[in-house]
């Protein structure tokens, strides 16, 4: 098994809620609330969950864009939370990010060449100054853009092409990890497939590891080796792609998967479809015990009192991690 290059233990990110005249802290939004996570070299870890579940915050924690309020973070074997600015910057070279919105994540007043060259200007020792332009053109070519368009501005490109620009910027420094935060959600279906294919291609060519954050479960399955499902700041189920999609044992994962409309009218009718009632509770005031118990159809008294541990539980074929007192494959 390949080496672990990213390891978060008991990661927490609580944001204070301030109110009143003196902006006193009146509560905490528990965006990420005790997450253990590992990423191995060259693999893709999918992170799924509904809006507000903390998946994007977790992504930002993993690359030190935000400082966790608790827990440990190890990047390439080094404790990322104790590093000084210089060493952290050096380390960041290996963990880069691609953002969701290709419209707001590119500066409209700078050329594509400037945007993709930015990482080289920050990390000056990576490429000699005279080499930058050539290197940028190589990168554009690598992501399927015309290298001659180096002097164009972002508005001259379509959404899919802009996302390619964001990817070129993300891989410029030859990182080992690329955090992809909803990289295809803003794209049209026909273009989405092109970008997903590009990401797979780059992974094969460069040996990149991805943390792939998305709410589209089908896309995540397509690209991921392992998948973690989040609900209200916690991972509720984690395992190999096949275990999560074919043998989910957590009721939330089961509901999530069954809610995805299948692009096949013959499977209509929804027998076996679970329609959850209610909305996701507020992360500022999560339910006691198991956080899912307010929407769970299996919930018993115990679920509102004791929080289930995320641990390996049988799924009929083997074991994979699930945080439910009554974890079982649904028949």
């Amino acid at each position: 098994m390949s080496q672990v290059i990213l390891r978060g233990s008991a990661l927490e990110k609580h944001y204070p809620v301030k109110a009143g005249l003196f902006r006193r802290t009146v509560g905490q939004v528990r965006a990420v609330d005790g997450v253990d996570i590992e990423l191995r070299a060259g693999e893709t870890l999918g992170l799924v969950g509904e809006s507000g579940c903390g998946k994007s915050t977790l992504g930002r924690l993993l690359m030190c864009l935000e400082r966790p309020t608790g827990g440990q973070l190890e990047i390439l074997g080094r404790n990322a939370l104790s590093l000084d600015g210089r060493s952290l910057r050096r380390l960041r070279r290996d963990v880069q990010i691609v953002f969701q919105d290709p419209y707001t994540s590119l500066n409209p007043r700078r050329t594509v060449g400037d945007i993709v060259a930015e990482p080289f200007r920050i990390h000056r020792d990576v490429a000699p100054r005279g080499d930058i332009r050539r290197r940028v053109q190589e990168l554009l070519d690598q992501v399927g853009l015309n290298p001659e368009h180096i002097n164009r501005f972002p508005h001259q490109f379509s959404g899919g092409q802009r996302q390619r620009i964001g990817i070129a910027r993300g891989i410029a420094l030859n990182p080992k990890v690329l955090i992809c935060d909803e990289p295809v959600s803003a794209l049209d279906v026909s273009v989405q497939a092109q970008v997903v294919n590009l990401l797979r291609q780059l992974q094969r060519d460069l040996g990149l590891a991805y943390v792939f954050i998305a709410h589209d479960l089908a896309v995540v399955r397509h690209i991921s080796d392992r998948v973690a499902v989040m609900y209200l700041g916690k991972i509720v189920e984690q395992g190999d792609e096949a275990a999560i999609y074919d043998r989910p044992t957590h009721p939330y994962t089961q509901a999530l998967l069954s809610a995805v409309p299948t692009p096949d009218p013959k499977s209509r009718g929804g027998e076996g479809q679970i329609v959850l009632t209610g909305d996701v509770p507020s992360p500022a005031d999560p339910p006691s015990g198991c956080r899912f118990h307010t929407r769970c159809w299996l919930a018993q008294e115990r679920c509102s009192q004791a929080e289930p541990v995320l641990e390996a539980r049988p799924d009929g074929v083997g074991l994979h991690a699930s945080a439910c007192h009554f974890a079982a494959v649904r028949v």
Binding site: E50, D188, A193, N197, V219, A242, T262, P265, V275, D279
Partner: protein, 347 residues
């Protein structure tokens, strides 16, 4: 104007199968500084009572503009309907004066928008906004209208409707806001309901709730439903019939089973092949190459030819026949579809 004639006809009860809406050769263009964008180039279809029709397309395909033209809420200028008719139970809405048209909106044809937060007024309680429909169109007094609004909120299953009626839009979650929009849309018992990407901004578990609610309401009231979406999964779940749009044109029209089984137009086929599936872990996705065209500079011939895997010289020059009939209720706009042939995906 036939001011007294058509409302009489419209007050007759609707029977299942009646054609409610007939769009014929609709063309819309946007005249802008950069040039003329041909957003819709001759779209025709029918909608029957009790039927769910999905308009499927990507951004820029003209699916939302079609809905806006039917509703008469096109931004004009720059948008202009340059040809075609929109017949609502026999009356061409495009020829009605604005005063008459206003009576059609909401009462006969209602619409649900994608972004409920910007479609609702932030400074009024939601109950008040739903009640406004009844006050303006039905002339109810304040308290009766408020009661009706609460009943509608209960119908769309907003919990504690009486209290929530006094809340403001920002106090609702995305799913609940969309329920408010639906309550508003069905307030006047419309005959046709147009839903423009009603669940695109919502999470999947909430999406499932909202789609279920829409289906239920449609069956209960036998409305004609037009569902505008880019999501092939949602379409497969609820639609009876589908029209597929590309670059302002209708490329294929079919029953839902036929379209997913045997898509006739290369674009529909490419679209279906390019989506990742939940129950499959494949290698690379068979993506459609290239990009959707710029509406200011549509390609010559068939608008899809630069991305089409089967395009021939002729596709670059001749526009495809707008409707090659392929059987009952099936048509496609392509030079290379053949009636009654086995245009299977296996090929």
């Amino acid at each position: 104007m036939a001011q007294t004639k058509h409302p009489a006809r419209w007050s007759e009860p609707v029977e299942v199968g009646d054609v409610l809406l007939r769009v014929e050769g609709l063309k819309v263009e946007f005249r802008m500084r950069e040039g003329v964008a041909r957003a819709i180039n001759g779209v025709s279809f029918d909608l029957a009572a009790g039927q769910s029709l999905a308009i499927l397309g990507e951004s820029g395909s003209g699916k939302s503009v079609t809905a806006q033209a039917i509703m008469g809420i096109l931004d004009s200028p720059p948008g202009f309907v340059t040809a075609g008719r929109v017949l609502y139970r026999g009356v061409d809405l495009l020829t009605l004066p604005e005063r008459e048209r206003r009576k059609v909106r909401g009462a006969h044809i209602a619409m649900i928008f994608q972004d409920a937060l910007s479609a609702l007024n932030p400074v009024f309680p939601v109950g008040w906004q739903i009640a406004e429909m009844m006050r303006v169109h039905r002339g109810l007094n304040r308290s009766d209208a408020q009661e009706q609004a609460i009943r509608l909120m209960e119908r769309v299953r907003i919990p504690a409707a009486r209290q929530r009626a006094r809340a403001y839009p920002h106090q609702f979650s995305g799913g609940m806001r969309q329920r408010v929009m639906i309550a508003m849309a069905i307030a006047l018992d419309p005959v046709v309901l147009i839903a423009d990407e009603p669940t695109t901004a919502l999470d999947v578990t909430v999406q499932a709730q909202i789609m279920r609610l829409l289906q239920e309401l449609q069956e209960e009231r036998q409305m004609g439903l037009i569902l505008i979406t880019h999501d092939l999964g949602v379409v497969a779940d609820v639609a009876d019939r589908i029209i597929v749009m590309y670059a302002g044109g209708l490329v294929e029209e079919a029953d839902v089973l036929d379209l997913y089984d045997r898509p006739a137009h290369p674009y529909s086929r490419g679209l279906l092949d390019s989506i990742p599936r939940l129950d499959q872990k494949g290698s690379d996705l068979p993506a459609i190459g290239g990009l959707p065209p710029n509406l200011l500079r549509l390609p010559t011939g068939c608008a899809f030819h630069p991305r089409c895997p089967v395009a021939q010289a002729r596709c670059r020059v001749d526009p495809p026949p707008p409707r090659v009939e392929l059987g009952p209720g099936r048509a496609a706009a392509c030079h290379f579809v053949v009636p009654d042939a086995d245009f299977g995906r296996s090929a």
